[in-house]
């Protein structure tokens, strides 16, 4: 039987390298994907997710098991992403704002091509606008939306990751989705 994440984390606190390797292999894809969704840059996402694993190694002893391991780890990761965004905000003013990955991904990843060229164009434009609107959301709103739609997390868990109340998460989600809804309605 596979050991639980929480048990592995306890072993990491005792500097068990095998347990650390196992946790990394379980979470590396999810951590990288979530970091990329927030940061929208592959290199930054790789660096920040790796830093999250290093922090995990360093502070595994402080995991008390009061929440699920995944919630605790996502909190480390999301905090690092939000810090990264804050620190690099000024820099973005001086370099081009559209990141290397974003422009090509929004359209390229869309499923279900439509036959009518006018409909197709309209749909693509809407999706493109929605993609830009997601990127423009406030960092915590975006994190809340991503944790919901990508990680399928419950409001309670999102609140623990973002270290805020459930009511605040509901407000974040409502405002984020209201912004996106407006984008759709304008089209």
């Amino acid at each position: 039987m596979e050991p639980a994440d929480e048990a592995l984390c306890e072993r990491v606190a005792r500097r068990d390298e095998a347990a650390f390797d196992l946790l990394v292999s379980r979470y590396q894809e999810r951590a990288y994907r979530l970091a990329w969704s927030i940061l929208r840059n592959a290199e930054d996402a790789r660096d920040v997710s790796q830093e999250a694993f290093i922090r995990l190694y360093e502070v595994a002893g402080s995991f008390r098991g009061r929440s699920k391991f995944s919630t605790w780890f996502y909190r480390i990761l999301v905090n690092l992403c939000l810090d990264h965004k804050r620190k690099h905000k000024w820099w973005k003013l001086w370099v081009r704002d559209d990141d290397d990955d974003r422009a090509e991904t929004i359209l390229d990843r869309q499923p279900a091509p439509v036959n009518d060229p006018v409909d197709k164009l309209s749909r693509e434009e809407t999706l493109k606008a929605l993609g830009s609107a997601v990127d423009r959301l406030a960092p915590r709103q975006r994190a809340a939306v991503l944790l919901r739609v990508q990680e399928d997390m419950a409001t309670y868990d999102i609140a623990r990751v973002l270290k805020c109340s459930e009511a605040t998460v509901r407000v974040h989600l409502h405002r984020a989705l209201a912004t996106l809804k407006k984008t759709v309605e304008k089209r």
């Binding site: 990843r109 409001t155 759709v184």
Partner: protein, 160 residues
């Protein structure tokens, strides 16, 4: 009609609300066409967002793990450096010097500092006596000496 349950719509769609709240939102949606329409739009939006956000560029996981190992090793070396005897001894010495300066400096300051209490300073400032406080203090002492000198006379007067 109750207030619009804007913030509750997402938890409602995910089935997270406790039964009473769920019932309240469901009742509201039956009565409020705007909220009902919003809910449908939100449902579509949440469903499409996962596709819209999409997948990040492909990563070479072997390289990712190798980089992670290198970074972790570098961090360990950094920590170990701090634990070596030489930096530790230097840090301890520096801390000792700082402590000595803080304690000794503080004592020197208290010796040379003004012995007046805050109340006396305020009172002195109000009375304009602070500049001549030493003189006033000595006058007080002279007055005390005068009283002591006349104690015998006072005693005999009292007996008489």
């Amino acid at each position: 009609m109750t207030r619009h349950p804007d913030n509750d719509l997402v938890p409602y769609l995910r089935g997270e609300l406790p039964p009473a709240e769920r019932e309240r939102v469901a009742r509201h949606l039956e009565e409020c066409p705007d909220c009902k329409q919003d809910t449908e739009l939100l449902r579509d939006l949440l469903g499409n967002l996962a596709h819209l956000i999409g997948q990040p560029p492909v990563v070479n996981w072997a390289r990712y793990r190798a980089e992670l190992s290198e970074k972790l090793e570098a961090r360990r070396r950094q920590i170990v450096w701090w634990r070596r005897p030489m930096p530790l001894a230097l840090s301890a010495s520096l801390a000792g010097v700082l402590l000595f300066v803080a304690v000794w400096g503080g004592r020197e300051m208290s010796k040379s500092g003004d012995p007046l209490g805050p109340d006396e300073v305020v009172m002195g400032q109000e009375l304009g006596l602070l500049q001549d406080f030493r003189t006033v203090e000595r006058l007080d002492l002279l007055e005390d000496l005068e009283v002591i000198r006349n104690l015998d006379g006072l005693a005999s007067e009292h007996q008489g």
